[in-house]
Every structure is written in C-alpha cells, then in structure tokens.
C-alpha cells in the first residue's frame, strides 16, 4: 500500500510532509503531557519492530500481492505513540526495503498513521460501555483493526486514482486500482481478526497494556 517515489506530484509530497509534521507534533505534545512519557516507549519500540517486518509478509492476491500493514493494531495498542511509531517504521521500510519512498514518506505516514489514531479512539469507546464489556472489547478491537486498514486503503485508492500519469493507459490503471480494493477488503478483515485475537490474548494475560 506504500506509494513509491515519483508517482505523485511534488506539491502532494510537500502537503503530505506538512500534514505528517503537524500530526507528529500533536501526538508528541499529547505524549509529553502524560505523567511518564517514556514509560510506553519499550512497548512502542517492540510494536514498531512488528510493523517494520509486517511489510515483508506477503499475501499473494492477483493482480498484485498484499502485505500486512497492522496500523489498526498499532493504534489500538499504542494510542498517540502509534503515529510516530508508524512514521519511524515507514522510514526504515523505505530506506532498507524501498517500500514507499522518502519523497512520499509524509503522504504514506499520514495515510497509515491518521487511521491508526482513529482506531485508538474507536477502541477506547469500550471504556464508556459497562454492559458486556468483554464482548465489546472484541468487537471494537476487530473494528479498529479492520476500519483503520480500510480507511488507509481508501486514501491510497483516492490518491493513486487522482494522480495517474497521462503517459499510462489511465482507464486500465484506474480499473486495476479499483479492483485492488477487493483485496484490501479481505486484508482489512484479516487484520481485524488478528487485532481482535491479540487484544483478547493481552486482555487475559496483561490487561494493563490495553489501558489508554
């Protein structure tokens, strides 16, 4: 789902960096206002490692192949730490494996990071529910994982469709991008189930990790 270098105009790359810069500042400000800002860093660092290698796990789904993103899982477990963690993970993915690019880092971080923050807020709704809390924890975890990935895929599709180079066969490319949405929908379901399983496990073993 990473947008590579040279596929979107420079103005969009700059706008992506501006947006990512603003959201990173907001997240760091939120983190800094907690009682112990460094307390969650080990957890964030380990999950960044998971996010970093997730892009190497491929699911063959013609015409393209998908790879795990796990941004919903990051948002659910990390809260505001998720955005800088995703930004760092994407940076290393771009530098080491050429997944995405450095000019598109801002766009990719916003595309995957902002839905992660939404996933966090979606999952935190469980704290407002007293009735059947365990069931709602599962439902909201699955929703957070799936909706976050689905939203990122939707942003990816909109950006790529609106920026198809005229040098290409635009209609063919547009059809393929729209077709790839089916694959992303399947991936969203998989990541939703994975996030739910992880949350259920942590809820039993170490529930304090799930506290917002």
């Amino acid at each position: 789902m990473h947008i590579p270098d040279g596929f979107i105009p420079p103005s969009l790359c700059i706008a992506g960096y501006a947006l990512t810069g603003g959201v990173t500042w907001y997240c760091l400000r939120k983190i800094n206002r907690t009682t112990n800002p460094t307390e969650q860093i080990p957890k964030a660092s380990l999950l960044t490692a998971a996010f970093f290698v997730a892009s190497l796990i491929h699911i063959p789904l013609p015409p393209s192949s998908l790879h795990l993103v796990l941004n919903g899982m990051m948002g659910t477990l990390l809260g505001y730490y998720a955005f800088p963690a995703i930004l760092i993970g994407l940076f290393f993915q771009a530098v080491m494996f050429q997944h995405g690019g450095l000019s598109t880092l801002g766009v990719n971080a916003a595309m995957m990071g902002i839905p992660a923050l939404l996933a966090y807020h979606l999952f935190q709704l469980r704290n407002r529910i007293n009735h059947k809390k365990q069931l709602w924890t599962r439902i909201l975890a699955a929703l957070a994982g799936a909706v976050s990935l689905g939203l990122s895929a939707l942003i990816f599709v909109v950006i790529t469709i609106t920026n198809i180079s005229q040098d290409l066969n635009v209609q063919t490319e547009k059809n393929l991008i729209l077709f790839s949405l089916v694959g992303y929908l399947i991936q969203a379901l998989l990541e939703g189930i994975f996030t739910m399983m992880l949350v259920v496990f942590l809820d039993k073993v170490k529930p304090e990790i799930l506290k917002g």
Binding site: I3, P4, D5, G6, F7, T38, E39, I41, P42, K43, S45, L46, T48, A49, F52, V53, L56, H58, P60, P63, S64, S65, H67, F92, M96, F97, Q98, H99, F156, V157, T160, I161, S165, D167, L168, N169, T172, E173, L176, I177, F179, S180
Partner: protein, 161 residues
C-alpha cells in the same frame, strides 16, 4: 553473336542475375542483429509484475514517453535503446498503484551494445534487488535496533526505581 542469341540472353538475364526476384508477390521477413535491453519487473516478494504498464523515457526528452508497452507474463519487457542518444534512460513500471521508476545509466546501455554481460549493471541500478538472505539479515538488524531501544528505556526505568 547473332541477333537471335542476343534476344535469348536479354530474356534470361533477370533469371540468371537474381533468382529471388522471380518469385513475385511473396512475403518477406527481414531480421537484423540488435542489442536489446531487457527489464524484469517483480514485486518485492519476487512475483513477476505481469501485464504491467511500462513507459520508457529517452535521455534527450525525459518528460515525454519514448516508448510504451506492457510486460509479459514473466514481468519482462525488452527494448532497443536509440544508440544516437547518450545519457540515462528512465523506465517506469506501474500496476494497480504500485511500481517503480528506475534509471538505467549510460554505461549499462553501452555495456549491452558491446555484448558484455549487463545483468549485473542493471541489478546495481536498482537498489531494491536483494536476495532473501540479505533481506532476512537486514530485517534482523532492524528488529535488533528496535529491541535495543526497548531494552534501553526499560533499563532506564529500572534504574530510576
């Protein structure tokens, strides 16, 4: 030579001169020896990018497509660079929003023209080509960096306590 013999010679001359031209209305297939440059596009898991769109940009006009086409089932596409144009050639491959743009350096083009093995040159023009072992090592190094960070902040926390 008599007048009759001259007449026979004039009639037979085209037949004796070039036999192929006698067979009129036949199909002709020509061939010439060229040094084509072949690219192969794969996803990062090694799956070929089959039927992906390819756009080639020549050094003289990098903003306008010089050649367009699609890769075959193996993700391959071959083209013969214009030897009169010197400089780097840009190749864009795209499919379903994914793809890459690479620059083929002039020395790789020259190497292909002089019949040297250019596969290494092309491989080096694209940093994305790593074998699975290299990828595993790189991933392990990256993971260790993150684990190290986690351990560092855990240690700091323990000391404070």
């Amino acid at each position: 030579m008599t007048k009759r013999n001259w007449l026979i010679l004039i009639v037979l001359l085209p037949i004796l001169g070039n036999g192929k031209q006698v067979l009129a209305h036949g199909a002709q297939i020509g061939y010439s020896r060229t040094q084509a440059l072949e690219i192969q596009a794969t996803y990062d898991d090694g799956t070929p990018m089959s039927n992906a769109q390819v756009v080639i940009y020549a050094p003289n006009d990098p903003s306008r497509p010089w050649l367009t086409g699609t890769t075959n089932q193996a993700g391959k596409f071959a083209f013969v660079p214009d030897s009169e144009q010197s400089g780097n050639w840009d190749v864009k491959v795209r499919q379903a929003g994914h793809g890459k743009i690479i620059t083929i350096p002039e020395n790789a083009i020259l190497a292909s023209e002089t019949e040297t093995n250019n596969s290494q040159e092309l491989a080096s023009s694209n940093n994305a080509i790593y074998n699975p072992v290299q990828k595993i090592v790189m991933a392990a190094v990256g993971i260790w960096g993150f684990i190290g960070t986690a351990l560092f902040f855990s240690r700091k926390k323990t000391q404070q306590q």
